[in-house]
Subunit: 130 residues, 2 copies
């Protein structure tokens, strides 16, 4: 039973080299959300941390031969793909937690980018931690 | 440009009442992953915290009239949907962080469930925090 989503926006960044993970990134960029969703962004303000779910649209289709992968920089053994943040996964959904620097209408300037320019955004959520 | 995903498994729980958010849940349940992905789960072991992305399959189709919502229990004003964890959102992707209690093959017993029985699972990731 397939699940179909339409991107709500895209990532804009001038960075050509990106860190391998948001947790070590201080790259800045913008989340450009479709105008139709403008009022849905109320409450996303500077200083807040938000979760961005996005589509790994540049990854090749997943093959079951990639169920075990060796994470870069982690050294050592292969791991199951669900125990890694690999962009090459059964459903190519990426997750990054970024910090809001500024919001101007539907353009959210953020710090902590690890997505490429033009990456489709699927969802934005508050970063809720107990 | 639509993005299409196929669930990789589903949530199994006997709980009939669920907390409103994983951050306040100690409900136990199981993530039942399709056998085809068995080796993809290597490294998901007891004690680890994992991120589960799932489909809010019981939510009605999103309408732009719901761009501002009043979060339950939060009191006060409406917020933009992207500043809430509402299940009624443009792309119905849910996110919960749960703790692994046990893994037997492709069945992961976890604590911290806030999904209903039979919820389709889209992805599982390690909970990576700096």
């Amino acid at each position: 039973m397939s699940v179909v989503f339409e991107p709500v926006g895209y990532v804009r960044t001038e960075a050509t080299t990106l860190p391998r993970h948001w947790s070590v990134s201080d790259v800045e960029g913008e989340l450009v959300v479709d105008d139709a969703y403008a009022t849905g962004l109320e409450g996303i303000e500077p200083g807040k941390r938000i979760v961005v779910l996005f589509h790994f649209n540049e990854s090749s289709p997943f093959s079951l031969t990639s169920l075990r992968q060796r994470p870069p920089h982690a050294g050592g053994d292969k791991k199951g793909v669900f125990a890694t943040c690999s962009p090459h996964r059964p459903n190519g959904i990426g997750l990054s937690v970024v910090t809001v620097l500024e919001r101007t209408g539907t353009v959210i300037r953020v710090k902590g980018i690890d997505m490429r320019n033009n990456t489709p955004i699927l969802d934005i959520k508050p970063d809720v931690r107990p």
